[in-house]
């Protein structure tokens, strides 16, 4: 028994790039995949993680000091760097409790399906980590695996509930019949869309406005290009931080590099996760061959014209919000290109079916909330990253406005705070 416990301990002490592939390999074999295929896919996941870790190192060591210089020189108190959804993803999948995300996520989903408490069959297991954000926050604050997994399950149940309720309109709007989108980040925001649409409907004049998404994309498309955002934002940061010109250019290129390379690394990881994802989907479909919604990734919705158009226009709005919102500490960086379309993709169907003006107004409200929640949780994410040895310079406090703006995790953290669980 003792050797067994010691063995389990040595497993949880393994580096992320080894542990997660190992967990997926075992899971794939249980799900009946051939060893060769399962092995290759698992190693790809490890490769993606190694790449993500390396990029976080590059990003943190270049951007961290520049942001510190920016704060010191301008007096603008934006001392929390938005290192992006990929950094938070790495901290979450890299957590010692990540090994439980897929088993617990599947168990809760299957149980709720069996009890007919949900209609969603969440095949999008790649995104079970978005409930893991809550779990990591709880684990970092309390150190309890049980509490972390309990709140992981509660987060999943909340998202399944929202996905079920929003499915008819979302599926009709996007032409994806028989599906729902139980995504842990995007799926948190439809209530804001419904509320804002209701308000706008009451305002004469405003309720008549709309814009053409295609024109916006054509005219301002370059603004939404990650390379453009990276270069311009990096240069502005460097100049405002009074860096030498070489460092200004280096910051510009590095920020652009981060925006391009992070998604590529994630692609490698996704390629590895796809076989097990499809295996699980087919397995679950066979056993629940009745009226269910297949749960899909929100990523497939960000490319719709209304979301891309709103996303482009939200970029300057997010930057302006960061500068004027009282008490905001977050400087939007890595997530600027992606957070807009991602967080509005389940809001827009409720804004008079993709009305750009309404989506933009609702999106602004979303990001007012997002900046505060992401900023407030930043120390917790930073601590979580530190405990798994992420290569981020001492003193850099980071978050992700795309995924770290998780309002459920924020509420849970506040409740735990009442019981004395603080950093």
């Amino acid at each position: 028994m003792e050797t067994f416990v010691a063995f389990l301990k040595s497993i949880t002490a393994l580096p992320t790039a080894v542990m997660l592939p190992l967990a997926i390999l075992i899971l794939s074999l249980i799900a009946g995949m051939k060893f060769g295929k399962a092995f290759r896919a698992s190693v790809l996941i490890g490769i993606g993680l190694v790449g993500l870790f390396a990029m976080i190192g590059v990003f943190g060591s270049t951007i961290g000091p520049v942001v510190a210089g920016f704060v010191a020189n301008t007096g603008i108190q934006l001392d929390v760097s938005d290192l992006g959804v990929f950094t938070l993803l790495t901290a979450t999948w890299g957590s010692p409790i990540a090994i439980w995300f897929i088993p617990v996520g599947l168990l809760v989903n299957l149980l709720f399906l069996a009890l007919k408490l949900t209609k969603t069959l969440d095949a999008d297991i790649l995104n079970y980590w978005t409930w893991g954000i809550t779990a990591v926050v709880v684990y970092t604050l309390t150190g309890s695996v049980w509490l972390a997994l309990l709140f992981f399950a509660l987060n999943e149940i909340l998202i399944l509930f929202i996905a079920d309720r929003t499915a008819p309109i979302v599926a009709e709007h996007y032409g994806i019949e028989g599906t729902s989108v139980p995504h842990g980040n995007a799926g948190l925001w439809p209530p804001v869309g419904i509320a804002m649409n209701w308000v706008i409907e009451k305002i004469p004049g405003l309720n008549k406005l709309d814009a053409d998404p295609e024109t916006i994309q054509k005219k301002f498309g370059v603004v939404g290009d990650p390379i453009f955002i990276g270069v311009v934002l990096g240069a502005i940061l460097g100049i405002a931080g009074k860096q030498p010109w070489g460092s200004v250019l280096n910051t510009a290129v590095t920020l652009a590099a981060v925006m391009i390379i992070f998604p590529r690394m994630l692609n490698i990881m996704m390629e590895g996760l796809r076989p097990i994802s499809e295996q699980v989907r087919d397995f679950m479909k066979k056993r629940f061959n009745r009226d269910v919604y297949i749960g899909l990734d929100a990523a497939i919705l960000i490319g719709f014209p209304e979301n891309l158009a709103a996303g482009i226009l939200l970029i300057p709005i997010i930057i302006a919000l960061a500068l004027i919102l009282p008490g905001n500490r977050v400087i939007p960086l890595a997530d600027l290109a992606i957070a807009g379309p991602f967080l509005v993709c389940l809001v827009s169907p409720f804004c008079k079916r993709g009305n750009i003006v309404r989506t933009l107004i609702a999106g602004t409200v979303v990001f007012i909330i997002a900046l505060y929640t992401a900023g407030d949780l930043a120390p917790v994410y930073t601590e979580a990253g530190k405990t798994i040895g992420m290569n981020i310079p001492e003193g850099t406090v980071w978050t992700s406005i795309g995924a770290g703006s998780h309002w459920f995790a924020w509420i849970v953290a506040k409740i735990l705070g009442l019981f004395g669980y603080v950093l």
Binding site: A123, Y174, T179, D282, I300, I302, G303, N307
Partner: protein
Amino acid sequence: MAKKYVLSVCGTGGVTSGVVADKIRDICKRHGIDVEVATAKAVEISSKLESQHFDLIASATRVKETTVPVMNCMAFLSGVGEEALEQKIVEALK
């Protein structure tokens, strides 16, 4: 049989169009269709069509009518109606 050219599009020209492209390559291989699949953003469709001939646009987003037939390929992502879509693609490219 002549080689067929398919343009797989999604909003960002990234992961989703890649998944759809993989599926189409796989289907064509099984049905003995010689195919070349390119990926692109939806806004790039018209410029792509000007520079190269395509037989089919496989779309995972909403696109406007073009001179080339467009097929909605969301079923590859959800798995709902996947077999029917496979049939339609084979017919379109045969």
